[in-house]
């Protein structure tokens, strides 16, 4: 790549124990709807708690509860690290 285009950071790339703020969701409509209903909406803080033994799925803390997402689902959520 000639110009450095910064790839948007996604939720699956957080390191364990770190927090991020949700910027947007770019996934399938039905999965996206589920995610926003469960509280994963822009502006919300989300923390990566741990991964399952074989690296997938991943566990997050959002709105005071624990939510597990597959890596592929987490990859549709754009975040900015805090």
């Amino acid at each position: 790549m000639a110009e450095e285009i910064e790839e948007p950071e996604t939720l699956d790339r957080l390191t364990r124990g770190t927090r991020a703020r949700v910027l947007g969701i770019a996934g399938e409509a039905s999965t996206g709807q589920r995610l926003v209903e469960l509280g994963v909406i822009p502006g919300v803080e989300i923390k990566f708690v741990r991964a399952a033994p074989f690296g997938d799925p991943l566990e997050y803390e959002v709105m005071g509860y624990r939510l597990s997402l597959r890596k592929s689902e987490a990859a549709t959520i754009q975040v900015e690290a805090l």
Partner: protein, 833 residues
């Protein structure tokens, strides 16, 4: 088409009987516990049309003696209709279903420890104008984490009463009942959230658009329904409206959606509006105490989801669960078998031999036993599921297994139902209720019968023991063991491509979303666990039991009728001739003792008859004792060899003391006894032979002959074909049927030496052996894959609420079993089996 209904019916549902309130909320909020605490033991269940979930209906008493009906709706995070199972919640609230009455009010259960997410569905319910009460649960869990909620402030924010309840301890229930009582019959201004103006306009435009055909529809949509129509992409009503009422609707809706969301999705706009309001309320009502970051749940999870320890604990839990279903249920199932066998004999004793006796003993009693025999496995699985679910471990199990299961297009939730299906598919299919995603659940239910269950073992055991040589290959591997393993592999092997086809081609869903809440660990409640067992066991017996019983009686009738008179008469004549022979022998014995003594005189003889009685008694006791000891001897040798010797000595002593009373009488009684034994043996042979001939001539036998051309390529003959049909109620029935048709009597089981021998010796009309290794393999493969289990099909019908699935399953499995069995026989024959 559940949405099309008339206004009059809607009204009549309201008028009839007591007022109705709906109980709803997120999963894991203690909603079910609250439901049982409010309504007690007596509940009904209602099926929703087109959905696989069910609503529980219970009656609750209010302070001033009024009664209300409570509907326990499936736990859900939102009223959005992302699947047919979830749509029922919205449809119930709007009174669009015939199966459940329209509610006059609602209780929303809210978990205090994750207030924001729980309030989401509450904001949706509050947009209806019926009265609502909020029940705040898990207050202790929240307080332990430093979260304190002021319910009065929350009530003020929401505009409805908020009651703190602890259903397991019974606190707050009276207060909840009073609030419900006060609210009944009142009306409320629906919550008006401040949506962005574009979205607000979208709702109004859509309302007008829908108004144009509400006349034709017979009712008008409520505002919450309009919001759902605007937001939910997978709302099936759009197609319905498009086809029936308004061909241009879908296109217009798309336009309205675009305008209302302004570059975003309507779902996001809705969620932001709701969480925006919730954020404000929570800030006012919740006082955060000291933040405890490393909670108990976290500490437990760092072990239970650990790569090494977590996997170990998981294997241990699954291992003991499987062991329990497989092994603990054994004695219980044997017990049920024995009880029903004895019951059949006892009842049979009161009835004259004939069709009625056979119907009651072999049809009804055996059929009921055949239903109840599944209960131990169902109850043991649900004991584990209920405890693990209450604990919060089920979600962790799904978390751990998801990666493996997602390779087959399933999710981690499918693991436990499929694992338990190796013991029995019935609890497995019922256990699939824990899977939220409909497609995933259907796929799991469809795959469950492919796991080799314990009912296939008798078939495998019999075939392997009778025909597969005991040989060791490559060191320690036994051919017999390898073949058994191969049968388990066949089922799993077939289920993988089946899962793929179902997910990709039938449901056309991509990988289904996972999105799993990992609830905090909680201590299981005994009452809750018992209720789950009672519910699951009861629902199996009531709903599936009738179908299983009907199938058993149908197969009984096919095997019993028609009764061939010639066969009956011929065997009756043989029986009479045996009795005549015996009478003759007795006559000779009597004469030999005293020339004027007749057989009848002998039976009344004061000196001989008692000796005969004692002798028979000694032999009978001895026989049962020795038989029991010899059976046990196989297990623990040294102690029992001695017991056997003692038993034999005791018998000899008893006989000598009897002989000492009179040698002549003793010898005579012994000859008499011998003659009787011989006669009884011949009678029992005649019985078995008659049963075999009658079965061969029955409709079942005729069906066997009719399908013979079909099964010859499988290496079978009409007898095996018939036994396969007869095993429709349950696979293991094939063993007893083969016992009958090979004239050994129906009481033979797979460990019976004589059945193994007879199977080895059975011949075709041309004199070649009926069973070869190739035939045995073909029978085993057929039974590994076929759907010969009425109970599985009945439970499938019950759990999917439709005959479509069991019919599809039966057709697919039978077809697959036939093809696989054909291939097995042809290949095995080719390689010289």
């Amino acid at each position: 088409m559940s949405t099309a209904r008339s206004v009059t019916r809607e009204e009549s549902a309201n008028r009839a009987g007591s007022p109705v309130i709906a109980l709803l909320g997120n999963p894991n909020t203690g909603k079910s516990t609250l439901f049982s605490a409010l309504t007690g033991v007596w509940q009904k269940t209602a099926n929703f049309p087109g959905a696989t979930v069910e609503a529980k209906l219970g009656s609750m008493g209010l302070p001033e003696g009024r009664e209300v009906t409570v509907i326990d709706l499936p736990g859900s995070y939102s009223l959005a209709a992302t699947s047919p199972d979830e749509r029922v919640v919205t449809q119930t609230l709007s009174g669009r279903l015939d199966a459940v009455p329209r509610p006059d009010g609602a209780v929303v259960v809210i978990d205090a420890s994750s207030l924001e997410r729980n309030l989401y569905i509450a904001t949706q319910v509050l947009e209806y104008s019926f009265p609502v009460v909020i029940a705040l649960t898990m207050v202790d869990v929240a307080e332990a984490r430093g979260i304190i909620i002021d319910e009065n402030v929350l009530a003020e924010c929401l505009g409805v009463p908020v009651v703190k309840v602890d259903a397991p301890r019974g606190t707050g229930l009276d207060s909840l009942r009073s609030r419900i009582s006060e609210m009944m019959g009142t009306s409320r201004t629906a919550l008006a959230l401040s949506y962005p103006s574009d979205f607000q306009r979208g709702i109004e435009t859509l309302q007008e658009r829908v108004g144009s055909f509400s006349q034709k529809l017979g009712y008008s949509f409520t505002r919450p329904e309009i919001i759902r129509l605007l937001v939910d992409f997978s709302d099936a009503r759009v197609d319905e409206i498009q086809q029936l009422l308004d061909p241009g609707f879908a296109e217009d809706l798309e336009k309205i959606r675009k305008q209302s969301a302004g570059g975003n999705t309507p779902a996001l706009i809705e969620a932001q509006a709701r969480y925006g309001a919730i954020g404000g309320w929570v800030q006012r009502a919740r006082q955060r105490g000291p933040q405890t970051d490393n909670t108990w749940t976290d500490r437990i999870d760092s072990v239970l989801t650990h790569r090494v320890w977590g996997s170990l604990v998981f294997l241990l839990v699954m291992g003991s669960m499987f062991q329990a279903i497989y092994a603990w249920s054994g004695p219980l199932m044997d017990g049920i078998d024995t009880v029903f066998g004895a019951l059949g004999e006892w009842v049979g004793g009161f009835l004259a031999a004939g069709p009625l006796q056979s119907l009651i003993v072999d049809g009804v009693i055996a059929g009921v036993g055949g239903v109840l025999v599944f209960l131990p496995q169902i109850l043991i699985l649900f004991l584990f599921i209920a405890i693990l679910e209450d604990l919060g471990y089920m979600a962790r199990a799904a978390f751990l297994m998801d990666r493996l299961m997602s390779r087959f297009g399933l999710s981690g939730r499918s693991f436990i139902p499929l694992l338990s299906s190796f013991a029995c598919a019935i609890p497995g299919i019922m256990g699939a209720r824990v899977i939220g995603d409909r497609n995933n659940r259907m796929t799991t239910i469809f795959l469950a019968p492919f796991m080799s269950c314990s009912a296939r073992l008798p078939v495998y055991t019999l075939m392997i023991a009778a025909l597969i040589p005991q040989r060791t290959v490559v060191g320690f591997l036994e051919v017999q063991g390898l073949i058994l393993l191969a049968m388990y592999a066949v089922g799993v092997g077939v289920s993988i491509p089946t899962a793929w086809v179902l997910q990709k081609k039938i449901f056309r869903s991509g990988v289904s979303p996972f999105l799993l809440e990992l609830p905090t660990y909680k201590c299981p409640r005994i009452r809750g666990v018992l209720r789950v067992l009672w519910d699951r066991g009861g629902s199996f017996v009531r709903r599936a039991g009738t179908i299983i019983l009907a199938a058993s009686i149908m197969i009984w009738a096919l095997g019993y009728f028609p009764r061939n008179e010639e066969v009956l008469q011929r065997h009756q004549a043989e029986r009479e001739s045996v009795e005549a022979d015996f009478a003759n022998q007795l006559e000779i014995l009597a004469r030999g003792y005293r020339s004027d003594l007749t057989a009848k005189g002998l039976k009344d003889h004061a000196k001989i008859a008692p000796v005969f009685e004692s002798l028979s008694g000694i032999y009978e006791e001895h026989e049962t004792q020795v038989a029991r000891l010899e059976e046990e001897l196989a297990e623990e040798e040294p102690a029992l060899t001695k017991a056997l010797l003692v038993a034999k000595e005791e018998r000899t002593a008893a006989l000598s003391s009897l002989a000492a009373r009179g040698k002549l009488e003793f010898d005579l009684a012994r000859s008499w006894h011998q003659a009787r034994l011989t006669a009884d043996e011949r009678l029992s042979d005649i019985e078995s032979c008659e049963a075999g001939e009658l079965l061969a001539g029955s409709w079942l036998g005729q069906m066997g002959h009719a399908i013979e051309p079909l099964v010859i390529p499988l290496g079978w003959d009409w007898r095996i074909g018939m036994a396969a049909i007869a095993s429709f109620p349950a696979r293991e029935v094939i063993v007893a049927t083969l016992g009958t048709i090979f004239k050994l009597g129906a009481d033979t089981d797979e460990t019976s030496e004589s059945l193994r021998e007879v199977i080895g010796q059975a011949r075709r009309p041309d004199g070649t052996p009926l069973f070869t290794i190739a035939t045995a393999l073909s029978v085993m493969v057929f039974f590994a894959l076929c759907a010969q289990c009425a109970a599985t099909l009945a439970v499938m019908r019950r759990e999917t609420n439709s005959w479509r699935w069991p019919i599809a399953s039966f057709t697919y499995m039978t077809g697959l079993a036939f093809v696989a069995s054909l291939a097995t026989f042809q290949i095995a024959t080719f390689f010289g089996g």
